[in-house]
Every structure is written in structure tokens, then in C-alpha cells.
């Protein structure tokens, strides 16, 4: 379930994030000297980026109680941004889906940029809710690492498809424009019951996908 961005204030003894062993989370990539930009806020740096098989974790190098986590289910897209008009430094630009719970209690305490009532996480202290953050940039000091970092994010995102049965929009198929325009859902398709044999076309383009395709 997409949770959006949350803050974390604890880390393991080796300085990295606590991993969720219940789903066999592993660290795929560690990138030091990375700044993080949440929405319109100024960059927070320096920090270390941990890309795990489940989540993106950024931990501040200067404040051991400051960090942010977003799970790949919430990461709707990510891209390499080299457009200086968009942001002065080359970076990974990403968008985050905060999930559907947008009516949570929201208390402005005025001390930071919209952190919400701390929630109890599973094991590791309290977390803050940054589900209102929809844009995030990761700015590595070493810009040449962006291509590899982008690819790691692609690979780990592919490890996190939506769970079965939670997909919306699995509705009916529309066969022609008339159906679409008249918004016929589950209605009479008698005019489409033509001879099956006539319709079958052995077009090689529609063969089953090769199982080893990973799309990376």
C-alpha cells in the first residue's frame, strides 16, 4: 500500500536504515553525499541515500535523528533531470503518491514544513507523515553517478509491482467507438458476436512475451 513519504528518526547501529526482514528487504545501492529536496523546500544535505529492494531511504549525515523514507509503491515516476531551468544541479526528479488517506488530522505546529502528528511505526520509534510531499529531488554531489542511480531505481521499482487484487480500473473492455461513446458497461454486445474463426489472426506481434524479459 502506497504510504507516501515519511520521516524516520532512528537508524541501525551501522548508521544505515533498519531493514524490514519480514519482506526480505536488502540494500541494493548506497550513495553517499546526496542532498534531498522535498517539494519546494531548500535542499537538505549532506546525507546518504540507501536504495533498498523495497524503499528509498535518505539519512542525514549531520543529524542522526533525521531521515526520510518512501516505498517504491509510492514512487509513481522518477527521471534524470539535467535541465538547469528546472533545478540548478543535475539530479533525480521523482513524484510521490501519498496514498488515499488525505483526511488525516493536520496540525500546524509551525516548527517545520508541515510535519504531521507523529505516528508509531512498527518497531522503530515515531515517524512523521510527509504524505503531502509529491515531488522529490535527489542531488548527488557526484553528477556522474546519476545514470547508475537512475537504473538502480528502475530495477528496484520493478521489484515492487502492485499486489494482486488491489488494482483498480480492471473493468470491461470496450471494442469500438460506439460502445465507448454510449458508455455501455456490461451491456449488450450482441453485435460483436461474429464468427470467431473469422477474427482469429495469427499475428506474431501478439505472441506471448518471453518469460526472461525484464524490461530493464
Amino acid at each position: 500500500m502506497a504510504r507516501g513519504l515519511v520521516s524516520v528518526n532512528e537508524r541501525s547501529e551501522d548508521g544505515g536504515p533498519f531493514l524490514e526482514t519480514v519482506n526480505e528487504e536488502r540494500i541494493a545501492h548506497v550513495q553517499p553525499s546526496v542532498g534531498i529536496v522535498l517539494g519546494e523546500s531548500p535542499a537538505e544535505q549532506p546525507g546518504t541515500l540507501y536504495v533498498t529492494t523495497r524503499r528509498l531511504v535518505w539519512l542525514s549525515d549531520e543529524d542522526v535523528h533525521k531521515g526520510y523514507v518512501v516505498d517504491f509503491l509510492s514512487l509513481t515516476m522518477h527521471a534524470i533531470s539535467r535541465d538547469e531551468d528546472a533545478y540548478p544541479q543535475p539530479c533525480i526528479y521523482s513524484q510521490i503518491d501519498g496514498g488515499e488517506d488525505e483526511d488525516e488530522e493536520y496540525e500546524e505546529d509551525g516548527t517545520d514544513d508541515g510535519a504531521e502528528e507523529p505516528l508509531e511505526s512498527e518497531n522503530h520509534g515515531s515517524v512523521g507523515d510527509f504524505s503531502h510531499v509529491t515531488e522529490m529531488r535527489l542531488v548527488p554531489r557526484d553528477a556522474s553517478s546519476l545514470d547508475h542511480l537512475f537504473q538502480v531505481l528502475c530495477d528496484c521499482a520493478a521489484l515492487n509491482p502492485d499486489p494482486e487484487g488491489e488494482q483498480e480500473g480492471e473493468g470491461d473492455w470496450f471494442f469500438n467507438e460506439d460502445e465507448v461513446m454510449s458508455n455501455v458497461i456490461g451491456g449488450d454486445r450482441a453485435n460483436n458476436h461474429v464468427d470467431l474463426a473469422e477474427l482469429l489472426m495469427q499475428d506474431p506481434r501478439f505472441e506471448d512475451a518471453d518469460e526472461e524479459e525484464s524490461g530493464t
Partner: protein
């Protein structure tokens, strides 16, 4: 995942062509289709946002990965579609589902 097979096969044929992907959050991105995977995650190259005024922070990004589950539509190039073949294969797939 069976109904994805049709789209996956079809999108693989569109690699190298310009498509516009519309996300469920209304963001629309145009780019060259680089690749697609079995979950219909989409990678685009040389992307630009369709409505720059609405999403000024993105502007042009080079390589873009879009999570398949957030895609609402993929707008296909006019010369990339054989409508009759797609219709027939779709009917066949739906009946088999």
C-alpha cells in the same frame, strides 16, 4: 496479469516511437518509448511534460521511468497502430480471459 500480455506485446512494438503517457494524477509526459516490462512500467527518453505551466519543476528530463500502475492512458502515434489487428486481438484476449 494475463491481460497485460497483450499490451506488453503491443508496446514492445512501439519502442522507438514517440508516445504520450497520461498518469492517473493527470500528469502527461511525451517521450520516445525506450522499453516496457511485464508490469507495463514504461521507460521514456527525451521526455517533456505536456503541460509545462502546470508542472514547471519537471520541464525536460532525459530518462524517465513511469510506474505501470499509475498510467491512465498511453497515446499512440498514428502510424503505430493497425486498428483492425488490435481490435481483433483484443476481442480474442477478452474472450479467453
Amino acid at each position: 496479469m494475463f491481460r497485460f500480455r497483450l499490451f506488453f506485446s503491443y508496446f514492445k512494438e512501439l519502442v522507438g516511437k514517440v508516445v504520450t503517457v497520461e498518469l492517473k494524477n493527470d500528469l502527461a509526459i511525451t517521450g520516445i518509448l525506450h522499453s516496457v516490462d511485464q508490469y507495463l512500467n514504461i521507460k521514456l527518453e527525451d521526455t517533456r511534460v505536456v503541460d509545462e505551466a502546470k508542472y514547471p519543476h519537471m520541464l525536460s528530463v532525459k530518462n524517465c521511468f513511469i510506474r505501470g500502475s499509475v498510467v491512465r492512458y498511453v497515446q499512440l502515434p498514428p502510424d503505430g497502430v493497425d486498428v483492425d489487428i488490435l481490435h481483433d486481438a483484443t476481442r480474442r484476449e477478452a474472450r479467453g480471459a
